[in-house]
Symmetry: C2
Subunit: 217 residues, 2 copies
């Protein structure tokens, strides 16, 4: 009967890491639903199915908890992009998969994005966290660009140019994601395709009527 | 002797609009130097060469004043871009001039950008102002894209695609501008050229070693 024991675990015996993740899941839901100000630790504790002192003991104040949510969601987002980008694929396919991974994530977490991202951006202590998360994302993207460039045999590309392109790409993606979060009817893949065309082909080709098409489905 | 009278105007006889602009100039300098929190109305009054009650009478509280600064600087930025973009030039030249106008403005006001933009972004009442300013900029850029596309005879371009491209362009420019503000050694024209290459040629051409060159100096 091991399976059924595992299906209904005794709460006490859960490892700390698992329990923390459950609390963060609950906190993300409540922050998304209420916004930072209106979210209460009481509601988060109820949502997580544990006592409020336990939430404080594990994750600290509401500020700490919000911070932990932003960091976890940010890390997940970054992981989902890196996982989507295959290592040995052509550059356009990698870019396309990365963009689909990103917009797919945002599309699947529209409310969380709108609340976590916007609230983090507009509250001082969190804005710094978000800036450093963003810097990590820019670094990862610059590394991907460096790899794509090296694959093409262009070993003379300057790091600062690649970093600037990474900033441009991340800024463009962020800007469209913010739009996507406000448009529940919009298809995330459609946003990915738009940005793919914009960044891969560039305005010149777009003006000439060229369109980029994915080779895979 | 009319010229010398005009060179040393009696403060009392200045029209309200001119006086307001002087106060805003002073406020932008003080906010840039001190940041929002540390800036005092006393210092702003001294900097403007008028009494503190007069500053309050004209522009309201520190919050109101900061807001007025953000709106004025934002409007100036937008005007400087629109002025830079010639109406009857080819699309790439227009884009290049617009980008140079933008990065030139940011490069000339690095401190102001860092303080006004970042502080506005990370403080709730101002974040909304900034969002609506940003929406105006996106609209202006989308209008420029619509025009460029129409000039190329592509009348079938969808508004939503153009809006998405405008979001991408504005987000990319914002992201690089933020980097530029932190790098006093960086040349604004260099940032403009990087983004020009990125958005005009696209990643495919860049990987193939193509570079866009301005036809004008």
């Amino acid at each position: 009967m091991l399976a059924s024991v595992e299906a209904r675990p005794s709460f006490k015996r859960l490892p700390r890491a698992v329990r923390e993740q459950q609390m963060l899941d609950a906190a993300v839901r409540v922050f998304s639903r209420r916004g930072f100000h209106e979210a209460s630790m009481d509601e988060i504790a109820v949502e997580a199915g544990i006592s409020k002192p336990m939430v404080y003991a594990y994750l600290g104040s509401k500020d700490d908890l919000f911070r932990a949510c932003v960091n976890r969601e940010g890390t997940r987002l970054l992981e989902s992009i890196v996982a989507a980008v295959g290592d040995d694929l052509p550059a356009d396919e990698q870019l396309w998969r990365g963009l689909r991974g990103f917009f797919g994530f945002v599309g699947a977490h529209r409310e969380g994005w709108a609340v976590l991202y916007r609230q983090a951006k507009s509250r001082q202590p969190f804005a710094d966290d978000l800036a450093s998360l963003r810097a990590r994302i820019v670094e990862v993207v610059a590394g991907m660009l460096r790899k794509a460039v090296t694959q093409e045999g262009k070993t003379d590309a300057k790091d600062q140019d690649l970093t600037a392109s990474a900033y441009a790409l991340v800024g463009a993606a962020e800007s469209i994601a913010d739009w996507l979060a406000d448009h529940p009817e919009a298809d995330p893949d459609h946003s990915a395709a738009r940005l793919m065309n914009f960044t891969w082909l560039g305005a010149r080709q777009l003006l000439q009527g060229e369109l980029w098409q994915p080779s895979s489905a």
